[in-house]
């Protein structure tokens, strides 16, 4: 990738590849689960299948989309914006390990036994990085799986020409504070598992994450801390060799509010002048009320100025910016659908 401006229109994700794995991170509380769901919905065009994945067993996807809690089986959770299908999956490290042991060690039913013994919890909790490799392994498999049905690398049903099972995979990833560690699957394993299947799997995941197939999108609010964390994450992840996609500014005030504040900012609110004006349209004024209005107006201008400077800071990261509106009525399937349409309007395409 080059930093020089190119004349042609840049894709919404800002990379010149055709990414299929979209990793969505952001500071906690910025709404990254909602944005991930909206992105999956926007990418699920006609006849397309998109897999929406969560990794922290929070059941955030089922809450946002108002569906039954997700399990370790992929299930259809929503209709895409243009008639495609969004599938959901909650990856749980323990279940992934049992599956993994079955696949590589042919353990069959022994998985349940290991679970009972506390061995699964042990392996997924204490060994640094193993948990992330297991979760990464499931993601890797879902990105690479073909319509022929089997994971690449499995012995049966391998058909290199078959199309992928999912046109895109959207990951509701850990927050910015943990994302670097989560994506650095091999680094975490450094002292451990120097050989063997875990190591091989970590290397394969690393390869996928650092390829043109993967982009990392960062969700932020126009507030000091989230923007700072976003800029830090963009810098750190890029330094780790990951491709940064879009920065999504979530819960932005709509333009009409902004332009109203712009009018307010043109002059200092003057209670002496406002009083008669308000009385002329039938509002009984008091000095305290006029002071209150002036103070509210001044704060709105201050807030706008802060937002403008934060917008500049976000733009300064040099990534495409997608902006999603604040929805005071909260999130739910309708809100996700509306945000997906917003994303599509701003150029998000399958």
């Amino acid at each position: 990738m080059t930093t020089a401006r190119e004349p042609r229109a840049v894709a919404w994700h800002g990379t010149n590849g055709a990414p299929r794995l979209h990793i969505v991170t952001g500071k906690g509380g910025t709404g990254k689960t909602t944005v991930a769901a909206a992105l999956a919905t926007a990418l699920a065009g006609e006849g397309r299948r998109v897999l929406l994945v969560e990794t922290e067993e929070r059941q955030g996807i089922s809450q946002v989309l108002d569906v039954a809690p997700l399990g370790t089986e992929e299930t259809e959770v929503a209709t895409g914006l243009d008639g495609g299908a969004v599938w959901g999956l909650s990856i749980e490290a323990g279940a992934a390990l049992v599956e993994y042991l079955r696949l590589f060690y042919r353990l069959g039913m022994a998985g349940d036994l290991l679970q009972k013994m506390g061995a699964i919890e042990f392996a997924t909790t204490i060994a640094p990085g193993v948990r992330d490799v297991l979760i990464g392994g499931k993601i890797y498999e879902s990105v690479r799986r073909t319509t022929a049905g089997r994971a690449p690398g499995a012995r049966r049903g391998r058909d290199p020409d078959a199309p992928p099972a999912y046109d895109a995979v959207v990951l509701d990833a850990p927050p910015t504070g943990r994302i670097g560690r989560f994506l650095d699957v091999t680094g975490q394993l450094a002292d451990l598992a120097k050989v063997g299947p875990i190591r091989n799997q970590a290397d394969a995941i690393r390869g996928l994450l650092h390829s043109g197939t993967t982009v990392v999108h960062v969700v932020t609010l126009l507030e000091q801390l989230p923007v700072q964390e976003t800029l830090d994450a963009v810098r750190d992840l890029a330094a780790d060799g990951l491709r940064i996609g879009a920065i999504v500014v979530n819960q932005a005030r709509d333009d009409s509010v902004r332009s109203t504040v712009d009018v307010v900012a043109t002059q200092e609110p003057d209670p002496a002048r406002m009083g008669p004006q308000l009385e002329s349209v039938g509002i009984r004024t008091t000095p305290a009320m006029l002071e209150g209005l002036a103070l509210t107006a001044a704060e709105a201008v201050e807030r706008r100025d802060l937002e403008l400077s934060l917008e500049d800071a976000v733009a300064g990261a040099g990534r495409p910016v997608l902006t999603l509106p604040h929805l005071p009525e909260g999130v739910g399937p309708d809100a996700v659908w509306r945000l997906a349409a917003e994303l599509a309007d701003q150029g998000v395409r399958p």
Binding site: L114, G118, F122, V263, G292
Partner: protein
């Protein structure tokens, strides 16, 4: 809902520890810092333990870097005879110090060099919560021994759930004392006592499988680590329980912080219930960043008037009214949410802190927050 009188709580010499809890992003750190500043300027000797302060707040407190030692905060008004020290938690260093204090030098070094320890002390989910409690314990000890402070204010780690702070230490403790980890880390002892046959084929198979997966060296490291920690603490769970009990000590009060948003209030509700269950003394709920309408004109009325003024050509006054209308709507939403919480928790004492324009970047701004916090 009754009014929460934090001013009286801070003035009460019986109050020795205040723990600020709540979901991430609700202003816990700011609340902790404001309470500490207020108490110090009222004459108490205060130390505030912050976890992850925003850059500008850290600067305001003189916390330029991660430093596990409390340092005096400059520009505090000490005319009432009080003082304020502040520190930022360094979880790895706190853990290291725990080990160094409790183990002989050789065992301590063995633990510090162990790869499991290194992973555990820097990245295990819950270590930060555990170490925040440990550090609180240390500060309390120091306060008692040296008479340095008579009030400790603690911020808690920025987790998704406020409950993490209470749960993490025990989770870590019971995990390290778990059946499987005990078996693989002390096979000789377990075998000697119980006998390999009694353990059953299942356990041996489990140990063998996990051993194959994670490697011999790793299993060896686990074993060394658990054995060394055992000689130091005689079991992790006991240690974690002891730390937890600190929170139930007399003089400790919890302050739950929430923003007027559905999720944050729900979180705060869970936490309040949990404190009651564990018999931990709750002071009350701080509702942070509450929008308050400053003019008694309804949003609809303001918009109608704005339209009339626009027609009459006064775009500026109209815009001021529209800004007020938007703000009044937010204020109305906050009022509804707070009323619902009050209905659900009728005995919960609360105090509201109004939404401020800019972020808190200096002591005067903190004093403003403190003034709102201590005005019931």
């Amino acid at each position: 809902m009754s009014d929460l009188d934090l001013g009286a709580l801070l003035d009460d010499p019986e109050t020795s520890v205040i723990v600020c809890c709540g979901a991430g992003g609700v202003g816990k750190t700011t609340t902790a810092a404001a309470l500490a500043l207020h108490a110090a300027e009222r004459g108490r000797h205060v130390v505030v333990l912050t976890i992850d302060p925003a850059r500008r707040l850290a600067q305001a407190l003189g916390l330029e870097e991660l430093d596990n030692t409390p340092r005096p905060v400059a520009s505090v008004d000490t005319s009432a005879g009080g003082s304020l020290d502040a520190m930022m938690l360094d979880m790895k260093r706190t853990f290291d110090e725990v080990v160094l204090t409790h183990a002989d030098p050789e065992t301590a070094q063995q633990i510090l060099d162990n790869s499991i320890y290194q992973a555990l002390s820097s990245s295990f989910a819950g270590t930060q919560e555990y170490m925040a409690m440990e550090r609180l314990g240390q500060l309390r000890h120091q306060a008692d021994a040296e008479g340095t402070w008579d009030l400790i204010v603690v911020d808690t780690p920025p987790s998704r759930s406020a409950l993490d702070f209470l749960d993490a230490p025990t989770r870590l403790g019971s995990f390290l004392d778990g059946r499987f980890i005990r078996l693989i880390s002390a096979p000789a002892r377990a075998g000697g006592r119980v006998g390999a046959r009694a353990l059953g084929v299942g356990m041996s198979l489990a140990a063998a499988t996990i051993g194959k997966l994670l490697g011999k060296q790793f299993m060896l490291d686990v074993s060394t680590f658990v054995a060394a920690m055992d000689t130091v603490f005689g079991g992790f769970r006991a240690r974690a329980d002891e730390t937890y009990a600190l929170l139930q000590a007399p003089g400790t009060r919890f302050v739950v912080v929430a923003a007027p948003e559905r999720d944050a209030l729900r979180e705060a509700g869970y936490f309040v219930q949990r404190l009651a269950r564990d018999q931990m003394p709750l002071a009350g709920l701080v509702l942070n960043r509450v929008a308050v309408s400053r003019a008694r004109i309804s949003a609809d009325r303001a918009r109608d008037a704005a339209e009339a003024l626009e027609e009459a050509g006064d775009r500026h006054t109209a815009a001021v009214l529209r800004v007020h209308a938007d703000h009044a709507e937010v204020a109305a939403r906050h009022r509804r949410l707070i009323r619902d919480t009050a209905a659900a928790y009728p005995r919960l004492a609360t105090v509201q802190v109004p939404l401020a324009g800019a972020d808190i970047a200096d002591l005067p701004a903190l004093r403003d927050v403190a003034a709102a916090l201590t005005t019931p």
